[in-house]
């Protein structure tokens, strides 16, 4: 006898349980169990009437714990936690036993078996409940401040978005100026707005917003803390001087962007005069003085080679096997821009799959109609680029759209449509312990459930540091990171599930295994009475229990699922002697 006062209610669910489980018999069996003060059956436990009955029973009998055996916990855990609360109990001292989906409905062919099983399950539930402790949601005060790492278009928009939510923002940019790649762009697809204008608009707003502090020539040096409360150390370079400051922030938004792929010398003729990359070409077009020129010579014919640095054969060393997503559309758009310039331009595009997805298809359509001709190159036979003795270039390829024909294109300029590659951010990765995928980009926890969150609490990723993205997609991702920050910090506090791990310090001998097992940094080493022991950072713990089996001393437990509780449930399932 533990002195607990448990109320047990077994539901008939009309006939859904009652037809296949002898509910009265179950109640009869467990009635005399230790600590069971009340055991009853109910036609519909979830009905308002029975809920009130439970509340009344609890008050009259002084119940302090509740077991309801009815349907799946997915349906009514919230309902009965609420009942428990109304009845003056701790909602975490309630156990839902599933005797419908996992008993009556699966054993409609065996009433004896179902009844016996139901008894076992209810007893397991009672045993578990006996060992429950009153828990309260972990309330964490959060710091209503965010740090944005990276001042490109995604970072700028994120900073502004965070400030608009009422959060204080620190923006850290490694370079001397803000704006990243986009700041250097002229008209961009699909709306032909200049990248430089977009960045200027954002920068102006960011600079004007009193809630945002911008640090250029700055880097994030160190980070510590847990849910909603992090300490970040920022180093600011001022010429040769180095200043470090500390800021408390609730979240860190990483928006460090990408690098352009740099072709190797000789790759599709790279290095030859007249062979340029897409970003170089775009700059030429953006800055062309009315007529497209290369080194002073007018350009009449341009040949584009797509998928340079993307979709590479996986057998190559360090291959970029991924598709860079933005480059087809960017090349198509740049070709359209080039076509707008004076002069009669001929443009030939050597592509593999034309990936102008979604609404960008319209750009591809427009480009075809404006003098661009597209040739499909075989995946396994890359086009050859050679320098002609006349000074021009010649690109040779087989065009799959024209049968087996090999076609030669004399070109004034060859544009290598280069993709995006991950930035070398080794330092930041080590500071933030950011997970990096096979492709070298940062990895989110889950692309669908939590697309901007990382395994590191409060550290969010957005934009092209996560995967190749267009500018507006990067901005959307930046705002999604704002939203996630807001979801954590906006209220100034957060309520976390109290079913977290716990360490019995007296048993702990600090071997560090639990800390190694936790990807969330939720276990720290502390000194207690002169001994080194592990301690759970409740606010960082996600309650998975992954640290429990690794402890050689059995010193860790997951609340609500403790070693003793699980064993008691096994006992409960087995102690029945059904007559």
């Amino acid at each position: 006898m533990s002195g607990r006062r448990i109320g047990v209610y077994v539901c008939q669910c009309g006939g859904n349980i009652g037809d296949y489980v002898d509910v009265d018999k179950v109640v009869e069996e467990i009635k005399g169990d230790d600590d069971v003060v009340i055991a009853r059956s109910a036609m519909f436990t979830c009905s308002d009437a029975t809920q009130q009955e439970i509340v009344q029973d609890a008050q009259e009998q002084g119940l302090d714990a509740l077991v309801v055996a009815s349907c799946s916990p997915k349906l009514h855990t919230v309902t009965f936690r609420d009942v428990a609360k109304r009845a003056g109990m701790n909602p975490f001292q309630y156990t839902q036993v599933n005797v419908r989906e996992q008993c009556s409905w699966t054993h409609t062919d065996d009433k004896t078996g179902a009844t016996e099983k139901a008894t076992r399950l209810v007893r397991a539930g009672i045993n578990r409940t006996r060992l429950t402790e009153p828990l309260e949601p972990i309330v964490v005060e959060t710091t209503p401040k965010s740090l944005v790492v990276g001042g490109g278009i995604a970072g700028l928009r994120a900073a502004l978005g965070l400030a608009e939510l009422g959060l204080t923002v620190f923006l850290v940019e490694k370079e001397a100026r803000l704006g990243g790649h986009v700041a250097g762009y002229g008209p961009m697809f699909p709306n032909d707005r200049k990248g430089s204008d977009l960045v200027a608009t954002l920068e102006e707003k960011v600079r004007a917003n009193p809630a945002i502090t911008v640090f250029t020539n700055a880097e994030l040096m160190a980070k510590s803390g847990s849910f909603g409360n992090n300490q970040a150390t920022i180093a600011i370079h001022d010429g040769d001087k180095l200043e470090t400051i500390q800021v408390d922030v609730g979240s860190i938004v990483v928006a460090t962007g990408f690098d352009d792929y740099e072709p190797a010398a000789g790759e599709f003729g790279y290095g030859l005069d007249g062979v340029v990359t897409l970003p170089e070409f775009k700059k030429m077009v953006d800055e062309a003085p009315g007529l497209l020129q290369y080194k002073g010579r007018p350009v009449k014919t341009v040949a584009y080679i797509y998928c340079v640095g993307s979709r590479q054969d996986e057998s190559l060393e360090g291959a970029h096997t991924y598709c860079s997503r933005y480059c087809c559309t960017s090349a198509v758009h740049t070709a359209l821009e080039a076509q707008k310039l004076a002069g009669d331009l001929r443009q030939y595009h050597l592509y593999r799959d034309m990936r102008t997805y979604g609404k960008y298809e319209l750009l591809w359509n427009a480009s075809r109609e404006s003098g661009s001709l597209y040739l499909r190159v075989p995946d396994d036979e890359p086009p050859a680029v050679e320098k002609l003795s006349s000074g021009g270039l010649k690109v040779t390829t087989r065009d799959l759209l024209t049968g087996e024909e090999e076609i030669a294109i004399p070109a004034d300029l060859v544009v290598l449509v280069t993709g995006m590659v991950p930035r070398d951010n080794a330092e930041l990765v080590s500071v933030l312990k950011l997970p990096v995928g096979n492709d070298g980009f940062y990895n989110e926890i889950h692309p669908k459930l939590r697309p901007v969150e990382t395994i590191v609490d409060g550290v969010l990723i957005c934009g092209a540091c996560q995967a190749p993205k267009t500018s507006s997609e990067a901005v959307a991702a930046g705002l999604a990171a704002v939203t996630q920050s807001g979801a954590m910090l906006k209220r100034g506090y957060a309520e976390l599930d109290p079913m977290v791990a716990t360490v019995y310090a007296d048993l702990c001998t600090w071997c560090g295994k639990c800390r190694a097992a936790c990807p969330y940094d939720a276990i720290e080493q502390v000194e207690l009475d002169g001994r080194q022991v592990a301690q759970v950072v409740k606010t960082a713990c996600k309650g998975c229990g992954g640290c429990v089996p690794v402890c050689p001393e059995d010193a860790t437990d997951l609340l609500g699922y403790t070693d003793a509780q699980i064993k008691s449930m096994i006992d409960g399932m087995m102690e029945v002697s059904c007559s």
């Binding site: 799946s72 916990p73 997915k74 599933n98 419908r100 989906e101 996992q102 008993c103 009556s104 409905w105 699966t106 054993h107 409609t108 062919d109 065996d110 078996g113 179902a114 016996e116 099983k117 076992r120 399950l121 397991a124 997970p435 926890i445 889950h446 459930l449 939590r450 395994i455 079913m499 990807p519 996600k542 309650g543 998975c544 229990g545 992954g546 640290c547 429990v548 089996p549 059995d554 997951l558 699922y561 070693d563 699980i566 064993k567 449930m569 096994i570 006992d571 399932m573 087995m574």
Partner: protein, 145 residues
């Protein structure tokens, strides 16, 4: 009728403890119920947040208390907690098997498979197959007794 019951009682129906996960595999097992699929009433389920939190000692304890087999209904790739959940659970399996062998029990008495939130039929099939294979092994307590 009475004769049938006696014969039934004499036949060995293995008791199986299933560890499921609150978000993924337990809903799959629920769906088996909603679809009124049948498996043995000797199958009982304990649901946890994540199968990476199962202690190998629980597997042994279950055997000692009279279960004949333990089935881990893991999340596989869908686990929202731990990206390496599948490997961790596999590791727990291996430790549990070793522990069982130490105690003279067959390692086949613990098994694991990915069961997702709509895997009603696969789960039922696992239970049928596992019951059959455990029946072949006989009761677990013969070894510890």
């Amino acid at each position: 009728m009475a004769e049938d019951a006696t014969r039934e009682d004499q036949a060995f129906h293995p008791r199986i403890l299933v560890f499921s996960t609150n978000n993924i595999s337990d809903p799959g097992i629920d769906l088996a119920g909603s679809s009124h699929l049948h498996y043995s009433p000797n199958v009982m389920v304990i649901s946890l947040p994540c199968t990476s939190g199962i202690k190998p000692s629980w597997v042994l304890y279950a055997m000692q208390r009279g279960f004949d087999g333990v089935f881990i209904a893991a999340d596989g790739e869908e686990c929202a907690y731990l990206p390496d959940c599948a490997e961790r659970t596999a590791g727990i399996m291996t430790s549990a098997q070793a522990l069982l062998e130490e105690h003279g029990l067959e390692p086949q008495r613990v098994r694991m498979a990915a069961v997702c939130s709509v895997c009603a039929e696969p789960f039922t099939n696992y239970m049928h197959e596992y019951s059959k294979s455990l029946a072949g092994l006989g009761p677990s307590r013969k070894a510890t007794a």
